[in-house]
């Protein structure tokens, strides 16, 4: 028990030094963009923007506050998935400001990441919330004016594939993405058939031959 307490103290210390910084990922081989981000052991917020309008917007149209819950229990409604979110589709007006609070109810990391935003405002075209297990993160972004469907997902290995995929439609959107639980089918689909399918197929084919032969011979006579 003493050890657990020590680690709690360590965690608090870790939280304390997590002042927001303008971080440069200069020596990260994997990342070439300059992100505005805060990182601590509860997770991170990347490219949050609550005041700069996209070039094509004259003014903010309105504000949204979205609370998203994530965890394996939200996968219950979608057979064949393991990781889940309570919403898989979001609809907002062009030039609106969206504040997302991402609540992670699992004991592992999860992410709420949106791609395809204008790169001059969001390095890499993304806005990213990442919550460590049992934590939540809040961040804000402003969408441009065009009708477009944006990909929202958790980019941990296999989390999108196994359920953590959603879409954000600005205005009328630009159609549905593939493989959004509750919205669209997968582009590559699993086939669910009994193991003895070949026996069934053969039996049906034989039945077809027999029935046809009987019909023809009965007409002849």
């Amino acid at each position: 028990m003493v050890i657990i307490k020590i680690f709690c103290v360590l965690c608090i210390l870790a939280l304390n030094f997590s002042i927001p910084v303008q971080a440069e990922t200069q020596s990260m081989q994997d990342e070439h963009h300059h992100h505005n981000m805060t990182l601590d052991s509860s997770g991170l917020v990347m490219n949050s923007n609550d005041n700069t309008l996209p070039q094509d917007c004259d003014k903010l149209s309105r504000d949204y506050n979205i609370k998203v819950y994530a965890g394996t229990k939200y996968a219950a409604d979608y057979p064949g998935t393991v990781f889940g979110m309570d919403q898989h589709e979001y609809q907002v007006e062009p030039c609106s400001r969206i504040t997302v609070t991402f609540v992670n109810e699992d004991e592992v990391r999860h992410q709420w990441m949106i791609h395809g935003l204008p790169r001059y405002l969001y390095p890499g075209g993304m806005f990213h919330l990442e919550a460590a297990g049992g934590h939540s993160q809040t961040g804000t972004f402003i969408v441009p004016s065009d009708n477009k469907t944006y990909l929202v997902h958790c980019d941990m290995s296999q989390h999108m594939e196994k359920g953590m995929k959603a879409q954000l439609k600005v205005g009328k959107g630009s159609g549905d993405l593939w493989a959004i639980p509750g919205v669209s089918k997968g582009f590559i689909q699993d086939i669910y058939i009994p193991e003895e399918i070949w026996i069934y197929l053969m039996m049906v084919s034989i039945a077809g031959v027999v029935i046809t032969t009987l019909l023809i011979s009965s007409k002849r006579s």
Binding site: M1, I3, I6, F7, L10, C11, L13, A14, F17, S18, A23, E24, T25, Q26, S27, M28, Q29, D30, E31, H32, H33, L39, D40, S41, G43, L44, G71, T72, P79, G80, T81, V82, F83, D106, E107, V108, R109, M113, H115, G124, G125, M126, H128, E130, A132, G133, D155, M156, S157, Q158, H159, E161, K162, W178, A179, G186, F187, I188, D190, Y192
Partner: protein, 556 residues
């Protein structure tokens, strides 16, 4: 009436087209006596080799990761290989990710709680409370959006079997960036080698970020069966605890009293999960003052911050992990996306008793990639510590060219000096560990001098990629004077570019196509023989049609 003539004509054509080589031997001999030898006709020409795209054998080290450098007060050694570990991550593992700056965390990609280091309990100048957090990552998995694998990781050119690995806790995307589907460099096979000090109070939290249940079993590491609260601590679902479900976590506790080279692996359906890559080295280092350890060695290989005890006796240290792969198992994660179908295919339909290995890896790569990052580099008159685990399904017969090595420890237990054996083939059974002392004294016994000396499993299938050689776990012991500035060995043999093509390992490139002006190249087909065979087929078809026609006519 013409049908009868057509029938005879087709028989004649069939006989003429029938290849001479297929005639009965007696008939051929008789014909030869009557007509003499056949006239010379040149066999087909050599095929012009197809253009194959070659990967760069040794990509440039743009971020100077290979250099010796001091980061956060940690002296990270020069790493001589071509592709090496991120020194920022190495430093963060030594100091503890809770004790380094944001800048170093950003540069390493690690979360602040990936490796937490706490108090110095015995006052000897190094931390004794260690908390490691590991996630489970799937490499080359399936997707409902594309038939290409996701979070891609190649063990050799064009070869990407599915894997599950334990990985350090990192923030951000699993891939290099949004446009890329390649796994970021720290997400890789094998699972990281773990290093703790004898007597450390160690916590290892498994944050199961994967869609299947897993555990960690600490093979050979001193740990209690249950922890202080009576919770299972052995990682074995049959006896000590329930598996850690997707999205859940469990913390294992231990304070190892004995040092040595040990092993850790998942113990859920172990015949599948261990072979999928959920396994790594676990080293308990001897207690010394000021012993700041590199807690994780990502991808195993060169230890850039060796322990105090190792530096007392050795000049360098390498972690070597061997694993063989049955592609029939590993590719099952790519065939379906529904976890119910995947688990059925992997845990019920797959039968390991029928398994046969196709690929053989050293530190998660097969030749030629082993030459990029798993060379054992040395100078004359050195002692190198090799910590070896065989994580595979069959034993390996590890052979050192040009050297006889001495086994100092078996399964983490030191052999008495009188019982030590010096030899050039070391047998390592599944899950066994052997510590080797590689001595590079040029005395004709321990070393035959400088050079590029192969290091490989001498069971011959182990030096192939699915039967194509050179491949498998072939690496080398390379003396520094045989190493180029960029870390690539000064080989004097065959052109390596050929081995850095996916086509070569798809079996599309002749193994000696570039030797002797194409004397061993692929061959064009014989057009004349092809025409004859087509003629034979056609005339046989005509005959069959005529026979059916004749039978039909005769029917009343």
């Amino acid at each position: 009436m013409y049908t009868r003539w057509l029938f005879f004509l087709s028989i004649l054509v069939a006989l003429m087209c029938f290849p001479l080589q297929w005639y009965p031997m007696a008939l051929r001999l008789q014909l030869g006596q009557w007509l003499g030898a056949d006239e010379y006709r040149a066999p087909p020409m050599a095929k012009i080799a197809a253009d194959t795209t070659t990967e760069l054998p040794c990509p440039e080290d743009l971020l100077n990761w290979r250099d010796a450098q001091t980061i956060a007060g940690v002296d990270v050694r020069h790493s001589p290989g071509c592709i090496v570990d991120n020194p920022n991550a190495v430093a963060a593992f030594v100091r503890g990710t809770n004790n380094v700056s944001q800048q170093i965390l950003m540069a390493s990609g690690l979360t602040p709680d990936a490796v937490e280091k706490g108090r110095d309990l015995d006052g000897d100048g190094d931390p004794d409370e260690i908390h490691i957090r590991l996630e489970v990552v799937e490499l080359n998995g399936g997707s409902p959006e594309s038939d290409l694998p996701t979070t891609q990781y190649a063990i050799a050119p064009g070869i990407s079997p599915g894997f599950w690995v334990f990985a350090p806790k990192m923030f951000g995307m699993a891939t290099e960036n949004f446009e890329s589907s390649k796994a970021r460099s720290m997400l890789r096979l094998p699972s990281p080698a773990i290093r703790v000090e004898q007597g450390d109070i160690v916590k290892i939290t498994l944050e199961n970020s994967h869609y299947m249940p897993h555990t960690i079993h600490f093979h050979g590491v001193d740990h209690p069966f249950v922890d202080e609260d009576g919770e299972g601590n052995d990682g074995v679902p049959v006896t000590s605890e329930k598996p850690v479900l997707p999205g859940s976590s469990r913390t294992y506790n231990m304070q190892p009293r004995q040092s040595g080279t040990m092993f850790y692996h998942c113990h859920v359906q172990p015949h599948v999960h261990i072979m999928m890559g959920l396994q790594g080295l676990f080293v308990v280092e001897e207690n010394r003052p000021n012993n700041w350890l590199q807690t994780l060695n990502v991808g195993a290989g060169h230890v850039r911050v060796p322990s105090v005890a190792v530096t007392e006796k050795f000049d360098r240290e390498y972690d070597l992990q061997y694993l063989d792969i049955d592609i029939d198992l590993n590719n099952r994660i790519q065939k379906s996306n529904d976890p119910r179908l995947i688990t059925r295919d992997m845990h019920r339909r797959y039968d390991i008793t029928d398994a046969k290995s196709d690929f053989f890896t050293l530190n998660g790569r097969s030749f030629p990639y082993t030459f990029r990052e798993s060379l054992v580099v040395t100078k004359p008159d050195e002692h190198i510590k090799l910590r070896i685990v065989n994580g595979g399904s069959t034993g390996i017969a590890l052979h050192t060219h040009g050297h006889k090595v001495t086994a100092t420890h078996y399964d983490g237990v030191e052999a008495k000096p009188a019982a030590r054996i010096t030899r050039d083939v070391v047998w390592i059974a599944s899950a066994q560990r052997v510590d080797l002392d590689l001595e590079t004294t040029n005395d004709g016994l321990h070393s035959y001098g400088s050079g590029i000396w192969l290091l490989h499993d001498h069971q011959e299938k182990g030096v192939t990629n699915d039967g194509i050689g050179p491949g498998g776990n072939v690496s080398a012991i390379v003396y520094e004077n045989y190493l180029q500035e960029n870390g690539w060995p000064k080989t004097q043999g065959m052109d390596f570019n050929k081995f850095f093509t996916a086509a070569y390992y798809r079996k599309e490139v002749p193994v000696w196509g570039d030797l002797l002006n194409g004397k061993f190249s692929d061959v064009e087909f014989d057009l004349w023989m092809l025409i004859r065979l087509l003629g034979l087929g056609l005339s046989l078809g005509v005959m069959v049609a005529l026979v059916i026609n004749g039978i039909n006519k005769r029917r009343p």
